[in-house]
């Protein structure tokens, strides 16, 4: 696999500690350009014209949650191709299914390690590149 580590990644979470943790893990994997947003609404603003290659988003957030953001992104001609990894804590059956139907590329259950995150990302990009 050849993962482009130079792509811009956006971490979306309302809890700043979580953003920091995820950012750290992404940087360990080797990503150099990691940005963050506090909720779905802020993320959408950043994404527009932001040339992001990948999004890691929390589910539960004020203003606009991860699922609404996901739907908005998939409806947007400019953004719809951006792969999205959804972070979820209590992996409820219905929730994940809704996310898949809405077009999420993969999901990851909190808490996770750098290795697991890497595997998920690799899977996403392997699939896209096939």
């Amino acid at each position: 696999m050849n993962l482009d580590l130079k792509m811009k990644v956006l971490v979306v979470d309302d809890f700043s500690t979580m953003r920091r943790i995820v950012k750290n893990l992404l940087k360990q994997i080797g990503f150099v350009s990691v940005d963050e947003a506090e909720d779905g609404a802020q993320a959408l603003t950043k994404l527009k014209g932001g040339d992001y290659g990948f999004i890691v988003s929390d589910w539960n957030m004020p203003n606009m949650d991860g699922l609404s953001m996901l739907k908005k992104i998939r409806e947007d001609d400019e953004l719809k191709e951006i792969p999205i990894l959804m972070v979820t804590a209590e992996a409820e059956k219905e929730k994940v299914i809704t996310a898949i139907q809405a077009g999420v590329n993969n999901y990851i259950v909190k808490p996770f390690t750098g290795e697991v995150l890497k595997e998920k990302i690799d899977k996403i990009f392997d699939k896209i590149n096939v």
Binding site: D14, F15, S16, T17, M18, R19, R20, I21, K23, N24, L25, K27, Q28, V34, E36, D58, N60, M61, P62, R74, A89, E90, A91, E92, K93, V96, I97, I100, Q101, A102, G103, V104, N105, N106, Y107, V109, K110, P111, F112, T113, G114, E115, V116, E119, K120, K123, K127, I128
Partner: protein
């Protein structure tokens, strides 16, 4: 532990505490307003987020408590269980426990709480609530096991290694298998997904979830990487800000001296063009320094909401304790105040609230009999007025019984019968702040100390503020607290008595006047002066400070300073008015500021050390005994 890890942990503690601060008042609001979906969503989300982050950091106890509490909240949100007092109590206890766990982490004391009883209690409450059982005994059980958090804060046993250690130490031996399985769910490129795939996916999700709850993955490889701060906000150590604040204070002092010297040169060499340039430069420095001082001060300012957020809960618990129904209304919580105020205003406000609930408000029956609404009302109103922050706590209760206050004070030997007969109404209300007056030992579970209303006065004086009481029988009582906006630098009037210079804070000074000996009257031994038809007690600064150098009676004229603190007005006579100056308060160690009327000291423009006088203290002492 890496610095990065330590930083993340401390950020987590702060953020989690902030989240709890945010949701706690919501519970009380929920209880009053009934179930509100948005509010429940907010609460649920915060708890959920704390759990998630704690999982990464491997703080298992926090995860456990947050998880059980979240379960309850989820059922509440989904409408599966009703919002009962039992459920609410249980959730509030879990918040208390989370706070305790966080504070243990913060103190790095290695103390481990046994959360198992609470977790099982939360589960019990949930089960009973689901069965529609009113849970007659759960309340007892909950309070029993959480009542004594002090007991559980026993020194850590040998084997209970600090949590943070275990977060690092716990090996990756089982990480290989879990990570492999965790990733078992395959997802097709959207949006085409077959039913079967979804079923499979859902199954693997369930399986994964189960594993997750069994064994948490250690996050040992967090951090070590690039230090990266959140772009919008910067968390800075308070010490660093205080250092800047200190330096800004020093700059103000130097500026004052420079102003002084340049004025001198301006007068001496007014013809020299350089003199004008010097004046210009110094006045620019003057402006910039003031701006800088303000900017630095602003860094330390925080919304007072931080303190107020705990009050709805407090009022709920306290009013339940005395069987009264109380509504709390808060306005102006966005008002920003200095950090020192945030840190020190909580206790006095708690005492005032407690006093209002205990003594101010009547019981429901009594209220109905008086034709008042059955529910008592307490309002907290905060606003900025000029360069002061005003905090008003009003109740619509019975008002202070002045006669009762007097007789109780006489009984306790705090005042003599003779004093009492001469006291003004204002002076009488002040009685409740006298040390030794309040009989009730207040709030051990909240403040941890048995203290009375006198502490309110002391704490607020320490912030250079003052409290006054406005009371009306059967209408209610208002405690009004006024605190200067900034604590470190104040505008002061420089005066001279017996050849010594003093600084008097400018904010309580209403006016200054020049009077002749003839203007002074004497009413039953107290010197007074009539200002615009109002009688005002007059005191000699010399006498107040007991400087010994008796007033130079030779001069026929005196300067007086009219001080106005709330409703109180009095005059202080001095020999000379020197001028206005911005002074930096330096605290004096080893000086009893209560009895000496000295707030602190400062260095003036001419490089001399000058005492800053405490007019609030004076007013308390002088007006208390004034016979007007």
């Amino acid at each position: 532990m890496s610095d990065e890890m330590e930083e993340i942990i401390s950020e987590f503690i702060t953020e989690a505490e902030e989240s709890l601060d945010k949701i706690e008042p919501l519970f009380v609001e929920l209880e009053q307003k009934g179930e509100d979906k948005d509010m429940l969503d907010d609460i649920f989300r915060s708890m959920h987020t704390i759990k998630g982050a704690a999982g990464f950091l491997n703080f298992q106890s926090i995860v456990d408590v947050a998880h059980s509490s979240e379960n309850l909240m989820k059922k509440l949100r989904d409408g599966d269980i009703p919002l009962s007092t039992h459920v609410m109590d249980a959730i509030l206890k879990s918040i208390d426990m989370l706070r305790l766990l966080l504070s243990n982490l913060k103190d790095k004391n290695g103390v481990e709480e046994d959360v198992a009883p609470l977790v099982s209690e939360l589960e019990n409450v949930l089960i009973r609530a689901l069965n529609g059982n009113p849970v007659p005994d759960s309340n007892d059980v909950i309070s029993e096991q959480t009542e004594s958090p002090a007991e559980s804060i026993s020194p850590a046993t040998e084997e209970s290694a600090p949590l943070m250690e275990s977060a690092i130490v716990q090996g990756p031996e089982d990480s290989a298998c879990t990570s492999e399985q965790e990733n078992s769910a395959e997802i097709q490129t959207p949006p085409q997904v077959t039913e079967q795939e979804i079923e499979e996916l859902a199954k693997s999700v369930q399986a994964q979830d189960n594993r997750n709850s069994e064994k948490q993955q250690p996050s040992k490889d967090l951090g070590q990487n690039l230090k990266d701060k959140s772009a919008q906000n910067l968390r800075v150590d308070v010490e660093r800000i205080d250092k800047v604040m200190d330096l800004a204070g020093e700059v103000v002092l130097v500026r004052n001296r420079l102003l002084n010297i340049s004025n001198y040169f301006d007068q001496m060499y007014s013809s020299d063009p350089k003199s004008e340039t010097l004046m210009e430069t110094v006045s620019f420095l003057d402006r910039v320094t003031s701006d800088m001082q303000l900017a630095v001060m602003k860094i330390r300012m925080q919304p007072i909401k931080k303190v107020l957020s705990k009050f709805p809960r407090l009022v709920r618990d306290m009013s339940a304790g005395v069987n009264k129904d109380v509504d709390l209304l808060i306005s102006g919580e966005g008002t920003e105040v200095d950090k020192t105020v945030i840190e020190n205003i909580g206790d006095p406000l708690t005492h005032i609230l407690r006093n209002s609930i205990d003594h101010g408000l009547e019981s429901s029956e009594e209220r109905i009999a008086k034709g008042k609404p059955a529910r008592g009302k307490i309002e907290i109103n905060i606003f900025q007025k000029g360069n002061q922050i005003v905090i008003e706590i009003s109740d619509d209760g019975k008002g202070l019984d002045l006669d009762k206050l007097k007789s109780k004070a006489i009984e306790k030997g705090l005042i003599s019968k003779e004093d009492a007969s001469k006291m003004t109404n204002d002076a009488i209300t002040e009685i409740i702040f006298m040390p030794g007056f309040s009989t009730k030992e207040f709030a051990t579970e909240l403040s941890g100390r048995g203290v009375g209303m006198d502490v309110v006065k002391t704490n607020i004086s320490q912030l250079n503020g003052y409290v006054e009481i406005i009371t009306e029988k059967n209408v209610g009582t208002t405690f009004r607290i006024c605190i200067p906006l900034t604590l470190a630098i104040i505008q002061a009037l420089m005066v001279e008595v017996g050849g010594i210079k003093y600084a008097i804070p400018l904010s309580p000074i209403e006016e200054t006047m020049k009077i002749s000996e003839n203007d002074i009257d004497n009413i039953s031994g107290q010197n007074v002066i009539v200002i615009r038809d109002k009688v005002c007690p007059l005191f000699e600064l010399n006498t107040i400070l007991e400087t010994g150098s008796s007033a130079n009676g030779s001069s026929a004229y005196k300067y007086i300073i009219v001080i106005s603190l709330g409703d109180k007005k009095f005059c202080i006579a001095v020999d000379k008015l020197v001028g206005q100056e911005e002074v930096v308060i330096k605290n004096l160690k080893g000086v009893d500021t209560n009895s000496s009327y000295v707030l602190g000291a400062t260095i003036t423009g001419d490089g001399k050390v000058v005492f800053i006088l405490d007019v609030t203290g004076m007013s308390r002492q002088l007006i208390g005994t004034a016979k007007v």
